[in-house]
C-alpha cells in the first residue's frame, strides 16, 4: 500500500550524545528535520534548565538584530535576501557574533543619539525662525493699531509716543513671551490662560504651515507660534508656568525689529550649518545600515538556529557521570539510517572521539502520526487533518478524498462553464506557484486558496465532467451529438409552438423517441450517447425528470461511499487484529446497512429496468414502499405497491435480519469482553508471575542496531529508559501489567456499546438522507444559473437593433460579475462546505477515529521561517 494509506511507521529512539558533540548533532538533526524530541524534564521550570543562559544570550542577540531591523525599516533600506541557508555556527562562534552585534548596536545607538540631539537643535532653530517671522507680523499689526487708534487710558504716554520713536514705546510697559506649541493644544491653552490670568493677557497665535518631525519618536507634528502680552511680573511667572504645563517651548524674542533681524540672520546661518552636519550624520547612518542590510538575514537565521538548538538541548536529560546528554525522539523507522548518518556527521564535525549512539526503545505510548505529503497531496491531507489527526497507523482517508471530494463537489456544482473558470483560476495558481511559494501571499484568504490550488484544480475538472453529463454550460445545453427526440411526433400545431416558450416532453407518444429498440419497441435509433439530451433544455418538465434522476443518483452514491467507509473500517480492524470488533460490530453493521439502504438501491435499479414509459403511471413509489416494509404492510398489485412477486416474504426476511443485527451489535462484544475479563481475573488470582512484567520485546529493538549498540548490559538499559519516560510512570512500569490495563467496568463498556449501536443505526437512515444534499445543491445551482441567464443575459440579448449590441455589451459585465460572485464564489463555497461535511460526517464516521497527534519534527526550515514559535 502506498505511503499515504497509513501513516509512517514510527519508533521511539534514545540518543546518547557526548556533551561536546551534542550541539553539532542536534544541528544536523535540525537540518534533517525528521526527529521529534520529547521533553524529558517536564517538571523543570524554563529558567532552571541547563542551557538557559545560552538561550538568553540568543534572545539578547535577537533583540539587537530586531533593533537593527527596525532601524533598517525606518530608513526603508531593503534587506538583501540571497536565499542561502547557513548552517548553525558552532557555539564558539557565538561570542564573535555577540561582539559584532554589540558593536553595531552601540554604533547605531550613538548615531541615533547624535542625530536626535542634532535634530532637536535643528528643530529649535527652525521654531525660532518661525517665531521671528510670525511675530514680526504681530508687531507690525500692533504698531498699526496703536498708530491709528491711540489708547485713551494712557494719554500721557500717547503724547510721549508721538514725540519719541513711536514704533518702540507701546511695548515698554507690556511684557511678552513668544513660543511654539502643538496645534491641537491651542484651544485648551487659550482657555486656561484666560481663566488663570483673569483675562489680563493677550494671546495671538498663528499656524506654522510646515510640519515638524518629533526628534524622539519621528512622528510629524503640527505646531503654532504664539505670543502672549501681559503686564507685570506676577503674571509673567504665571504665564510661564502655564506654558511649561502645556509643554510649549519659549524662545527669547527681542523687542526691537533690528535685533530681531540680526537674530534671524544668525539663526539662518546656524540652520544651514546644522543642515550640513545633519546630512553627514545621515550619510554615516546610511553606510552603517547598508552594511547591516547585507548580512542581517543570515544573522537572523544563524541566531534562530542556535536558539532552537539550545531549546532542544534543554529538553534533554543530562547524565553528569557519563558526561553525555540523553535524548528521546520519535522518528520514522525508514529514516533511522539518515538520522544515524546525521549523528555521525555531527560527531565528526565536533571532533569528538566517542560516537553518538542511537537506540530504539519500546513504548506503549501511541506514536505521532506522520503522513508524508507532497505539494499535491498536502491540500487534501489538510482537509482530513482539520477534522482530526488520524490515530497512529489508522487508514488515512486522504488518498481517497483526492478523487471523492472533487467528485462530490462537482455533483453539486455541475456546469461546464463554471468548471472551466474554476479550472483556469486554479491552473493559474498552479503555474505561478513558484512565484507565490518564494513570496508567501499576504492576503489570508488568497493564501488559503493557494494552499488548496490542486484541490480547486480537480474540482474544476470534475465540474466540467459533471457539467457535461448534466449538459449545462452557464445553464445552457450544448447539442453535440444531435438530440435523440423526434418532436414531430408530438404533432404540435404552429400556434402552440409559437405561443409557449417551453412545452412538456411526453415520452409516451408513439415515435417521439429514437431510443434503443429494447426499451422503446418502436425506437428507430440510439439515444443521446452521453449525458442528458439537450432537448430537455427547452422542455417544461425538465426539472421533474431531472429531480427523480438526481435524487436516486444521490442515494446510490451515498450508499457506495458509506459501504466504502465500512470497507476501510475492515482494513483498520484487520490491521489492529481486532477480530472481536470485526465479527461483533463490523459484520452486523454491513448487513444492517445493506438490508436497509442496499435493498432500496436494488429497488431503484429494478424499477429503472422493469418499468418503462408505457406503464410508468402504475409504478409503485419506492419511498412509500420502504415505509410499508417496516410497517409490515403487505404490498399488493391492486394498490400499485408491489414491485415483484413474493415481495412481502423477501421484505419481511430482510427486516428481520436487520433487526437481528441490532442485538448482535449491541450485546455480543460486551458479553465476550466480560467473559474474557472474568477468565483473566481467575488466572491472576491463581498465580501472580513476577517475571511476567519483563518486556520480552525490549531486547529486539536494541539488538537490531547492533552496530551502534551501547556498551552497557541489557537490564540496566531498560531501567534507564523507563526512568526517563515520563509518561510511563516508573512505578506502574515496574509492577505487573494488570495495572496498566484499564480496570474493566461492565457498565461503562455497555453504555459505550449502546451509544455506538444507536448512533450507527440512526445514522444509516440520516446519513442516507444527508446525501440527498447532492441532489438539492445541484438543483439549486442549475436553477440559480438558469435564473441568472434568463433575468440578466437573456434580457440583454433580446433587445433588438444597434441598441441591442450596446445593451448586450453592458449587460454581459453584469452577468459576468454575478456569475463569478454568486455562482462561482458563493455557490462554490457552499458546495465545498457540503462536500466537506459529507466526507467528515457521513464518510469518515464509518471508520475514522482521528484521535492521534501530529508528528512535529524539530526542523530548522520551519523555525527559520518563523512558522514555529519556539
Amino acid at each position: 500500500m502506498g505511503s499515504l494509506f497509513r501513516s509512517e511507521e514510527m519508533c521511539l529512539a534514545q540518543l546518547y550524545l557526548q556533551s561536546e558533540a551534542a550541539f553539532a548533532c542536534v544541528s544536523e538533526l535540525g537540518e534533517l528535520g525528521l526527529a521529534q524530541f520529547r521533553d524529558l524534564n517536564p517538571n523543570v521550570n524554563a529558567f532552571q534548565r541547563k542551557f538557559v543562559n545560552e538561550v538568553r544570550r540568543c534572545d539578547e542577540m535577537e533583540r539587537k538584530l530586531r533593533f537593527l531591523e527596525r532601524e533598517l525599516k525606518k530608513d526603508k533600506i531593503p534587506i538583501l535576501d540571497t536565499g542561502d541557508d547557513p548552517v548553525a555556527p558552532p557555539p564558539r562562534e557565538m561570542i564573535g557574533l555577540e561582539a559584532k552585534f554589540e558593536k553595531l548596536e552601540n554604533e547605531m545607538k550613538e548615531v541615533n543619539t547624535n542625530q536626535e540631539a542634532l535634530k532637536r537643535n535643528f528643530l529649535e532653530l527652525t521654531e525660532l525662525k518661525h517665531i521671528l517671522r510670525k511675530t514680526q507680523s504681530f508687531f507690525e499689526e500692533a504698531a498699526m493699531y496703536h498708530g491709528n487708534q491711540p489708547s485713551e487710558t494712557n494719554q500721557a504716554e500717547e503724547e510721549n509716543l508721538l514725540v519719541n520713536d513711536y514704533a518702540k514705546t507701546p511695548y515698554t510697559k507690556l511684557g511678552f513671551v513668544a513660543g511654539v506649541i502643538l496645534r491641537e493644544k491651542v484651544p485648551a491653552f487659550e482657555r486656561v490662560l484666560w481663566r488663570a490670568c483673569r483675562g489680563n493677557v493677550f494671546l495671538r497665535h498663528a499656524e506654522i504651515e510646515t510640519t515638524f518631525e518629533d526628534p524622539h519618536t519621528g512622528d510629524t507634528v503640527n505646531k503654532c507660534v504664539f505670543i502672549i502680552f501681559f503686564q507685570g511680573d506676577q503674571l509673567k511667572t504665571r504665564v510661564k508656568k502655564i506654558c511649561e504645563g502645556f509643554r510649549a517651548t519659549l524662545y527669547p524674542c527681542p523687542e526691537t525689529p533690528q535685533e530681531r533681524r540680526e537674530i534671524a540672520i544668525g539663526v539662518m546661518t546656524r540652520i544651514e550649518d546644522l543642515q550640513t552636519v545633519l546630512n553627514q550624520t545621515e550619510d554615516h547612518r546610511k553606510i552603517v545600515l547598508s552594511q547591516v542590510a547585507l548580512d542581517i538575514r543570515v544573522w537572523f537565521i544563524k541566531v534562530r538556529k542556535i536558539k532552537a538548538i539550545y531549546h532542544t538541548l534543554n529538553l534533554f536529560n543530562v547524565n553528569i557521570a557519563e558526561k553525555c546528554l540523553i535524548a528521546e525522539c520519535w522518528c520514522p523507522v525508514v529514516e533511522i539510517d539518515r538520522i544515524q548518518f546525521a549523528l555521525r556527521k555531527g560527531t565528526e564535525l565536533s571532533g569528538s572521539s566517542v560516537p553518538s549512539i542511537m537506540q530504539r526503545m519500546n513504548t506503549k505510548e501511541a506514536p505521532p502520526t506522520y503522513n508524508r505529503t507532497d505539494k499535491f497531496t498536502q491540500g487534501f491531507q489538510a482537509i482530513i487533518d482539520a477534522f482530526g489527526i488520524a490515530n497512529y497507523r489508522e487508514v488515512n482517508p486522504a488518498p481517497f478524498t483526492i478523487i471523492t471530494f472533487p467528485f462530490l463537489f462537482a455533483v453539486m456544482f455541475g456546469d461546464i462553464g463554471h468548471g472551466i473558470l474554476m479550472f483556469l483560476f486554479a491552473l493559474y495558481l498552479v503555474l505561478s506557484e513558484k512565484k507565490y511559494l518564494a513570496k508567501r501571499p499576504e492576503n489570508e484568504i488568497f493564501e488559503m486558496m493557494f494552499d488548496g490550488r490542486y484541490l480547486i484544480l480537480l474540482m474544476g475538472i470534475f465540474s466540467m465532467y459533471t457539467g457535461f453529463l448534466y449538459n449545462e454550460c452557464f445553464s445552457r445545453s450544448i447539442n453535440v451529438f444531435g438530440s435523440a427526440w423526434n418532436v414531430n411526433a408530438m404533432n404540435y400545431t404552429n400556434t402552440t409552438l409559437q405561443a409557449s416558450g417551453t412545452l412538456t416532453l411526453n415520452p409516451n407518444v408513439y415515435g417521439v423517441f429514437r431510443g434503443t429498440p429494447i426499451m422503446y419497441p418502436n425506437g428507430t435509433g440510439d439515444p443521446y450517447p452521453y449525458g442528458i439530451d439537450p432537448i430537455w433544455q427547452s422542455a417544461g418538465n425538465k426539472i421533474s425528470v431531472q429531480n427523480s434522476y438526481k435524487m436516486k443518483n444521490a442515494v446510490i452514491m451515498g450508499l457506495l461511499q458509506m459501504i466504502f467507509g465500512l470497507v476501510l473500517a475492515f482494513y483498520n480492524h484487520r490491521y489492529n487484529k481486532d477480530y472481536l470488533a470485526l465479527f461483533c460490530e463490523w459484520i452486523p453493521q454491513l448487513i444492517f446497512l445493506l438490508c436497509l439502504i442496499g435493498y432500496l438501491c436494488v429497488l431503484i435499479f429494478y424499477k429503472w429496468a422493469v418499468w418503462n414509459v408505457s406503464n410508468s403511471n402504475s409504478a409503485p413509489s419506492l419511498l412509500i414502499g420502504l415505509i410499508n416494509m417496516f410497517m409490515f404492510t403487505k404490498p399488493t398489485w391492486a394498490k400499485k405497491t408491489q414491485l415483484y412477486s413474493n415481495q412481502n416474504e423477501v421484505q419481511i426476511t430482510i427486516v428481520i435480519i436487520a433487526i437481528l443485527c441490532v442485538p448482535w451489535m449491541l450485546l455480543t462484544k460486551p458479553i465476550i469482553l466480560y467473559l474474557r475479563n472474568k477468565a483473566k481475573m481467575k488466572q491472576l488470582v491463581l498465580h501472580v508471575d513476577p517475571i511476567y512484567n519483563h518486556d520480552s520485546t525490549a531486547n529486539m529493538g536494541t539488538t537490531r542496531y547492533a552496530g551502534v549498540r551501547v556498551a552497557v548490559d541489557e537490564t540496566s538499559d531498560d531501567v534507564a529508559i523507563l526512568d526517563h519516560d515520563h509518561l510511563d510512570d516508573p512505578e506502574t512500569a515496574s509492577i505487573t501489567p494488570k495495572d496498566e490495563e484499564e480496570k474493566f467496568d461492565m457498565s461503562e463498556v455497555l453504555i459505550y456499546q449502546v451509544i455506538h449501536t444507536i448512533e450507527y443505526c440512526l445514522s444509516c437512515i440520516s446519513h442516507t438522507a444527508s446525501y440527498l444534499r447532492l441532489w438539492a445543491l445541484s438543483l439549486a445551482h442549475s436553477e440559480l444559473s438558469e435564473v441568472l441567464w434568463t433575468m440578466v443575459m437573456h434580457s440583454g440579448l433580446s433587445v433588438k437593433g444597434i441598441l441591442g449590441a450596446f445593451m448586450s455589451f453592458l449587460i454581459f459585465w453584469g452577468f459576468a460579475g454575478l456569475t463569478v460572485g454568486i455562482l462561482l464564489v458563493m455557490e462554490g463555497l457552499s458546495a465545498f462546505l457540503h462536500a466537506l461535511r459529507l466526507h467528515w460526517v457521513e464518510f469518515q464516521s464509518k471508520f475514522y477515529k482521528g484521535e492521534g497527534y501530529l508528528f512535529t519534527p524539530f526542523s530548522f526550515s520551519l523555525i527559520v521561517e518563523g512558522r514555529v514559535d519556539e
Binding site: 521550570n45 533583540r63 481663566r195 488663570a196 502645556f246
Partner: protein, 351 residues
Amino acid sequence: MGDIYDMFFNMDSGYLEGLVRGFKNGILNKEDYRHLTQCDTLEDLKLHLQGTGYGHFLANEPSPLTVSVIDEKLREKLVVEFEYLRNHAYKDLATFLDFIKYSYMIDNIILLITGTLHQRQLSELLPKCHPLGIFDQMETVTIANTTADLYNAILVDSPLAPFFKECISEEDLNEMNIEIIRNTLYKAYLEAFYDWCQRTGGPTADVMCEILAFEADRRSIIITINSFGTELSKEDRAKLYPRRGKLFPDGLIELSKADEYESVKRVSELYAEYRPLFDGTGNNPGDKTLEDKFFEHEVTLNVNSFMQQFQYGVFYSYVKLKEQECRNIIWIAECIAQRHRAKIDSYIPIM
C-alpha cells in the same frame, strides 16, 4: 427592563466583553506565581513571563533589567489594552470606562499638587503620573495656590469638575487639605460612579454597586484609622466618608465617633461581610495586614463579577485585577532584586 437590556448588550458591547474576558484568561494563575517566586534573578522572571500571556513584552529591553522597567512595561501593556477598549467603546460603556479613568486623574492631580508643594520639578513628577489619568490641563495644576484657583482656572474644563464642587475654598493648599481634597474628590467620584451604575440598572448595577459599596466602606474605614492622632476633627472626618457603602448610614455615624482601632473593629464587626476581614489581622509577623485583607476581598469581588454576563462590571474588574497583578509582579520582582526572599509570598493571589 433587565431582559431588554440583556438583549441589546451584545449589539454595542459584545465584542469588547468578549475581548475583556479573553484578556482575563491571561491573568496569571497560582502555578505561574509559584514559578515566579522560584526565580533567582529578574532575567529568570522575564523568561517565565514570556511563557504567560505577557509574551514578549520585555523582549526588546536590553539587559540588565530593572524593576522600574518591568513596572513601566506592565503598566504600558495595561494602558494599551485599556485604550483599545476605550476607543472601541460606545455610548454607556464609553462613559463607564471614563469613570474608571477619573480615579487615575484624581491621583495624578493630587500627585502633582503634592509634588509642587515639595518644590519638585514638573519634569520629575510627570513620569510618575499614571498614563490612564492624563488629561490636557493636568500639567498646569502647579500654578494654582488655592483650591478655588485650581477649580476656576484649570479643572473647570476637565471631567473632574463636578467632583470638585465640595472642596472649593480660598485656603492655601497645604499638606493637610490636599489629603482632604483627595478624599473629598474620591468621595464625590465614588458617589457619582455608584449613582451612575444604579441608574444604568440591570446586572451592571448588581455587580458594580457591590464592588463600589465595598470601595466606599474601605475608604471610610481607612480614613478613620489613619485619622487617629492627626488634627482632623471628627466632624471633618465624617464629611469625607463616601455615603454609598453598606456602612451608610448607621455604620458611618458609629465610625465618626470612633477614637481608636478597637472601636473601628467593633463597628465593622457588626457587618457580616467585614467581620472576617478583621479576624486574624495584626502586625505580628505571619499575620496579614488589614490592607492585604481588603485587597483580597476586593480581588474576590472582582473575580466574582466575571460570573455575570451582559454587564460593564467586567471591565472595571479586569482593570482592578490587572492592577493587582502588576502590584504582585512588582512585589515579587522587588523581593528578587533586593534578595529579600522571606516575604516573597505575601502577594495577593488572583485565581
